[in-house]
Symmetry: C2
């Protein structure tokens, strides 16, 4: 099934931003290939493509913190996806924070603050 997203232009992978559908907080950025996008459309749960593991990444399959997709938008170039999601468990980040963007940079480009609090302990969730 052909969709509107231009996977060819970007070499098969496009960035996908997940944003909390209620608060507007940007939760994370990951990547999708066409298969991940199709499964996301079909299941209404966010499925990404893991570049490090080189396979589909069904977000939350390990932690239980799935993302229920409320809305899907694409940008003017059709090569970036924006998902409005309900983040089950409240934390999108594998570090336990609501958002992966929990580190604020100072004017020199170094971390000077951590925003938000850990909602879970990664060691407890991932059994590493």
């Amino acid at each position: 099934m052909k969709t509107e997203v231009d996977f060819a232009k970007a070499g098969g992978l496009v960035p996908a931003i997940a944003q909390d559908f209620q608060s507007g907080q940007v939760l994370m950025l990951a990547w999708m290939n066409e298969e991940a996008f199709q499964e996301t459309l079909r299941t209404r749960r966010a499925v990404y493509f893991s570049r490090s593991r080189n396979k589909l990444w069904r977000k939350g399959e390990e932690s239980g913190n799935v993302q229920q997709v409320r809305d899907i938008l694409i940008d003017c170039d059709a090569d970036t996806i924006l998902l409005k999601v309900e983040q089950i468990g409240g934390a999108a980040c594998h570090e336990g924070y609501a958002s992966c963007f929990f580190r604020q940079l100072n004017h020199d480009g170094h971390v000077h603050a951590t925003l938000g609090e850990r909602l879970f302990d990664p060691k407890q969730v991932y059994h590493k």
Copy 2:
């Protein structure tokens, strides 16, 4: 000047999300190389790297719609940047919309709605 962002891992370019610092609306996604990021830090205006033109893209240099950077965050992997910006002129998108993400997809992955209104006519701004 070395910063916290891991440009090496991603082949020199990392995605940068621009989000309205007040409303939380996601405005666009573009790319930064280290030079673009350094200039963004220094000038507090968003500077991207245009993959199509293969050079720095000082956002707004043509349209006047610069992005004043209020806050800079990085994600847990240090390979994605989130800019909280004040979008001068109100429209981030070259199509005249506040956000580049003005197209909403239906369950089949096709556009079924346009969100928001054109704030400017691209033909008037870019003299194409």
